[in-house]
Symmetry: C2
């Protein structure tokens, strides 16, 4: 549905998802991703991915050399960022405006990101007050597809006991994990203090929750703690 500047060409939901997944699979800005990993992520056979890569290359959306891997061209990257903006604005909007539960937003956004118009995008952003981060704490590219300035965020596993800071990102889409974190008040915005940090997990005190629930001593397993990011600071 996203319309390319140049020829006003319209991409299919499939094509868009390939571009988005290529973007997300490439960590380093200069990296490439292989056919297998891509196919696996999209949920198709490797041969199907190869076929699609030929088409995307013909459209000028990817750099792709047979057997060597794939990366995005400038216009391919724009499509991916456009989608990312739609997705993250949608997650914010569904939660804030429509009262969606924390775990319900992802699937809906995954589908709708391909079908909302630029007008819809603009109006959501306006309604939300041009947010820079979504409910997970993930950065939202602005209308010109530029990311907000990065915050200094550090994974829970890299901080020691006694550290005080604010949760700024929770890098998981898993429903159960999100429900757990939601229950424990461990969502972006919360201020916490690390009570204990060991090899089997991390214990936190939530600082700005009513005193009756203060002594929050649940042990967060390392696998999850690694995906919770803090920024130093105290509640204002």
């Amino acid at each position: 549905m996203i319309i390319l500047d140049e020829s006003k060409k319209i991409l299919s939901e499939s094509q868009e998802d390939y571009l988005k997944q290529i973007y997300l699979l490439i960590e380093d800005p200069q990296g490439i991703v292989g056919t297998q990993a891509l196919a696996e992520r999209i949920g198709v056979a490797p041969a199907s991915a190869t076929a699609m890569l030929h088409k995307l290359r013909a459209l000028g959306l990817v750099h792709y050399a047979e057997y060597r891997g794939v990366s995005l061209t400038e216009s391919g990257r724009k499509v991916a960022l456009e989608l990312l903006r739609h997705h993250r604005l949608l997650e914010s909007f569904l939660q804030t405006a429509l009262g969606y539960g924390w775990e319900e937003v992802h699937d809906e956004a995954e589908r709708l990101e391909h079908y909302i118009s630029e007008t819809f995008e603009t109006r959501m952003a306006l309604w939300l007050g041009e947010p820079e981060f979504d409910p997970h704490g993930d950065p939202i590219p602005n209308a010109d597809l530029v990311f907000p300035v990065v915050r200094t965020e550090t994974s829970l596993t890299k901080l020691g006991a006694g550290f005080e800071g604010q949760i700024v990102r929770v890098a998981t889409q898993d429903r159960d994990e999100l429900n757990l974190l939601s229950h424990l008040h461990l969502l972006p915005g919360r201020f916490v203090k690390i009570a204990e940090s060991g090899s089997n997990g991390v214990r936190l005190n939530v600082l700005n929750v009513d005193t009756s629930r203060q002594g929050n001593h649940f042990l967060i397993p390392l696998s999850l703690a690694a995906r919770i990011f803090l920024q130093e600071g105290q509640p204002s």
Copy 2:
């Protein structure tokens, strides 16, 4: 995207649009519609419609006999109403919640109606306060797909000079017509008095608009007047 109760089968956007247009083209509850009219409405060649009708019949969604025309089965009708509910809730929501212009809502709703979930539908309805009519004045089936009780509405062309009533429906999706009506304050909810009704059109006085614009004597052509519906009554 709409999921059939029985086999959890998912319909394509195309299939859904066929069912919806069959529904809209059949005025009488017991009527049928021909291949040509249907094809024209969808924007495909008649042969393409024939092919699709075979598929929809195989899915148990339409009654269809070659050369004799098509109508909806009970489950086909449910899909059509489901879509209609999505469409009309979306139009209301885009306008009320997101500040869409009167003419912008239709195209967006036409696409999104196929991709929103039942959750999205439910939340929109809640946000809007379970509305029974959309911004055009068209009735919205409730969650059980039952229409609200019909209002007594009469086309402008069937009423004489001096009649006072409230606009309850504006049966057009045309952007220019909608813009015009919007400018003239002739939208559902307004109270008007018929100033003149002749063979070249109808002139209205808008009753509850500031006095400076009272003498609204624009001539509404009959073709448009026929699609404006009033209910008798005075402003409260």
